[in-house]
């Protein structure tokens, strides 16, 4: 359940930003989470509700944009979508690849009044 610690970081960053903007209300916080980032979106939602209680973020919406993972084959340089860490290259079946994206965990933006 490392989502709890991760959510605490989300809340910390969002509150710091809201205070810096002198926000009166926070409507939503948008994340970009890679499909291979190793976090469960439902668990983030669950933790967000708990962690945002009695803060400026209480009642705000947590929007999670999933970033699909993509890799580039080290053998034939083909780029392909990765569904899990065991995917092999559709061009040459090589398992040797570099992940281009899909492991990110970023706070993208927030909507405030």
């Amino acid at each position: 359940m490392h989502e709890l610690g991760i959510t605490q970081s989300i809340v910390e960053i969002a509150l710091r930003t809201a205070e810096g903007q002198q926000a009166e209300k926070v409507h939503s916080v948008t994340l970009e989470v890679g499909s291979l980032a190793g976090v469960v979106p439902d668990a983030l939602q669950f933790c967000y509700e708990a962690c945002s209680k009695e803060t400026l973020l209480e009642g705000s919406l947590l929007i999670i944009d999933e970033v699909p993972a993509r890799a580039r084959c080290r053998d034939c340089a083909v780029e392909y979508p990765v569904t899990d860490l065991l995917s092999c290259c559709p061009g040459c079946n090589s398992v040797s690849s570099d992940l281009l994206c899909g492991e990110e965990m970023r706070i993208k933006e927030m909507e405030i009044d």
Binding site: M1, I10, D65, D84, L86
Partner: protein
């Protein structure tokens, strides 16, 4: 940069709902901050400290009961006369593991994470306050027994080392790919039990290689000592490469 609203954006689907709500006084603030930025920043501080002091650091991860503490005990007893060690022990509760390490005579500090399922860079940074860093050549960090959560948290280590014992099943690398992908080293432990359990070493190696091409694998038994020489040889080489000269206390 998004040409629609000027906010920085990645190249995937972008939401523009906020334009419709402009009248209500709502505004969208771009943040673009890595959620783990704080941990990564602190890990970078730890890593710089380790580089500066020439301290080779490993982050040991595994399921509970794979033999992390026994491997440490054995390694420390066998190498403490040639390498100056310290150990950070991570567990949710108790100082049992730290007591076992302390019995080897090597400096140890126990970190209890309470409900936490992993160590983070902040805990490690403060854990270092308990050691004499000028003398230290190698830091072993025993993470909380958990093959999921510690994968996401950089501690500033040189390498993550995943332990897998032969009583666990050879498909662990497939079931927990994040961890084996994050680990440069995999140790297959308790190989003295191979005659008694159904564990296919070749398959385990193949699975690990699929998840992490090029992963370095050692097979060993802390009970019989088989395979430990290769492990020790690798540690000696890495400690020497990190900068502090190897000493001999005889």
């Amino acid at each position: 940069m998004c040409i629609d609203c000027g906010c920085p954006t990645a190249d995937h689907q972008h939401h523009h709902e906020h334009h419709d709500k402009a009248d209500s006084g709502r505004k969208t603030i771009s943040i673009e901050e890595d959620i783990l930025a704080k941990n990564n920043r602190l890990a970078a501080v730890n890593r710089a400290l380790f580089a500066d002091r020439g301290i080779f650091t490993l982050n040991l991860v595994s399921s509970p009961g794979s033999g992390k503490t026994t491997l440490l005990e054995k390694t420390l007893v066998d190498l403490k006369n040639e390498i100056e060690f310290a150990v950070l022990e991570g567990d949710q509760q108790t100082a049992n593991d730290a007591d076992r390490i302390a019995a080897t005579g090597v400096p140890v500090h126990q970190i209890n994470t309470g409900a936490g399922c992993h160590l983070d860079a902040h805990m490690v940074g403060h854990g270092l306050e308990h050691f004499e860093l000028d003398r230290l050549e190698m830091l072993m960090i025993e993470n909380v027994g958990n093959l999921v959560c510690p994968a996401s948290f950089d501690l500033g280590e040189d390498f993550k080392v995943s332990l897998l014992s032969v009583t666990e099943g050879e498909d662990k690398p497939l079931k927990y790919p994040q961890m084996f992908r994050a680990s440069e080293i995999m140790l297959i432990n308790k190989i003295d039990l191979l005659p008694y359990v159904r564990f296919d070493v070749a398959k385990c190696r193949e699975y690990a290689e699929r998840v992490h091409p090029g992963i370095k694998i050692f097979e060993l038994s802390c009970y019989t000592g088989e395979g430990l020489d290769q492990w020790y040889g690798w540690l000696r080489e890495k400690v020497a490469a990190k900068g502090k000269p190897l000493r001999s206390k005889g």
